[in-house]
């Protein structure tokens, strides 16, 4: 099942040139780039593992691409995403986030319904391979 989180996730996967162009856009806006990865793409798993520190003082996307290559080499079967953090006052948040690497076999998300009082139901999701 294709995991859809962040920008561009309903599009075909971005190739490196397209990722490069997106990162250039982020840097042009003065956003700091962070690379994160995880093997558990559960929607509630907000905090992924950080790949090194966020890169605050880059001028060119090449630096990000180098880190991304290394992260891919170390975690080929993980989801990897690029976050762009905007530090201007009032925003101070991630402005853009997109997935740049997926495992060959994607995780499945299964929904479980639980009956509770009366005829109410609770829904929960779990990921599995």
């Amino acid at each position: 099942m294709r995991i859809t989180q962040g920008c561009f996730s309903f599009l075909p996967d971005l190739d490196d040139q397209q990722i490069n162009a997106q990162v250039e856009y982020c840097l042009r806006n003065g956003w700091a780039i962070g690379i994160e990865h995880t093997d558990d793409p559960h929607p509630r798993n907000t905090y992924w593992e950080m790949w090194g520190n966020p890169m605050f003082d880059l001028r060119d996307a090449k630096g990000v691409m180098m880190e991304l290559d290394e992260c891919r080499k170390a975690n080929p079967e993980h989801y990897i995403r690029i976050n762009a953090f905007d530090d201007t006052r009032g925003w101070e948040t991630v402005r853009m986030s997109f997935i740049v690497n997926r495992p060959k076999v994607e995780a499945k998300i299964a929904m479980t319904r639980t009956d509770i009082r009366g005829r109410s139901q609770h829904y929960s999701w779990s990921t599995s391979r």
Partner: protein
């Protein structure tokens, strides 16, 4: 019209002159000529590099074989001969020629590259390299990277990473090493990998006395000061004498001397002023501001203890 002709035709002739004008390099080089005094061999070399890059670009446009030229450089010369200044201009020139993508200068020394414990150096060096991507990495006093007396020194690790990036990422950044001539020679002889990866060795000559005087006037003009006639003559003598004394650092010594002269001028105006002071008075350095220097009175530089 056949199909082959509809493919965008390659130009058969390119006006190098027009290309040169359009790139804006003429402007940068003219600016360099205007603002940097002396340094003839350096300017000549910069012109050659600019010409090479324009020709490469023309060849590329015409579909001739072209290879990205290696532009890593080493600047050698005595203290205060303008190595850092030229490096920052270099970034601008390469940017205008389209050789580097962003044209910023990242200036580092050993401390920024070499870590303090095992495993600290590689991330530190890589971090600097990442910042320098798309621009120029300027390593001042590069010979400190290599310490032959300590075989467990982490500098070697930084050197290896640098060499690798200089080789593999030639399109992404230009590395400029700078340092004093004799120590750089030693550095290169113990790291032959560096010498062969650096295409341009540029030597910065010392300034002669006339050039130093022109430099001092240019420095003052930038800060809205000027020397009066007598002061100019005193400055000339000051340069003469200062050169004989230890720790002479070309333009840097001149800048320090001028800073002290401004200090003395302020003090003189303060203690002697009765009534309003004119703008002209405020911006004139007089002979007395220079001649009380210890260079004249004791024959030692002002900076000596």
């Amino acid at each position: 019209m056949t199909a082959a002709e509809t493919i965008e035709p390659l130009p058969t002739a390119i006006d190098l002159k027009a290309e040169y004008e359009a790139s804006g390099v003429a402007e940068v080089l003219a600016e360099l000529d205007r603002e940097l005094i002396g340094l003839k061999p350096v300017k000549l070399r910069l012109r050659e590099i600019a010409a090479l890059l324009i020709v490469e670009r023309a060849r590329k446009a015409m579909g001739l074989s072209h290879e990205t030229p290696t532009l890593h450089m080493s600047f050698t010369g005595n203290p205060g001969t303008g190595k850092t200044t030229v490096a920052s201009r270099m970034a601008n020139i390469l940017y205008r020629l389209g050789y580097v993508r962003k044209g910023h200068l990242v200036s580092v020394t050993r401390d920024d590259l070499v870590g303090q414990y095992i495993g600290h150096t590689a991330p530190k060096t890589k971090d600097v390299l990442k910042r320098a991507m798309g621009g120029v990495l300027f390593i001042d006093e590069a010979y400190y990277l290599y310490r032959p007396d300590n075989e467990r020194d982490y500098g070697q690790e930084a050197i290896e990473i640098l060499l690798q990036v200089m080789e593999n990422n030639r399109d992404d950044l230009v590395v400029i090493l700078a340092g004093y001539a004799d120590r750089m020679d030693k550095f290169f002889s113990s790291n032959p990998g560096f010498r062969s990866r650096i295409a341009h060795h540029i030597d910065f000559p010392d300034y002669d006395n006339g050039e130093l005087l022109t430099i001092s006037q240019a420095m003052l003009a930038q800060q809205n000061y000027h020397l009066d006639d007598e002061a100019r003559e005193t400055m000339q003598r000051y340069i003469d004498r200062r050169r004989q004394q230890p720790h002479f650092a070309n333009a840097r010594s001149i800048r320090n001397a001028l800073d002290r002269a401004r200090l003395r001028q302020a003090n003189r105006l303060f203690s002697s002023a009765d009534g309003p002071v004119s703008a002209d008075e405020l911006s004139t350095i007089r002979a007395i501001d220079i001649s009380v220097s210890r260079v004249f009175t004791q024959g030692v530089p002002d900076s000596s203890p």
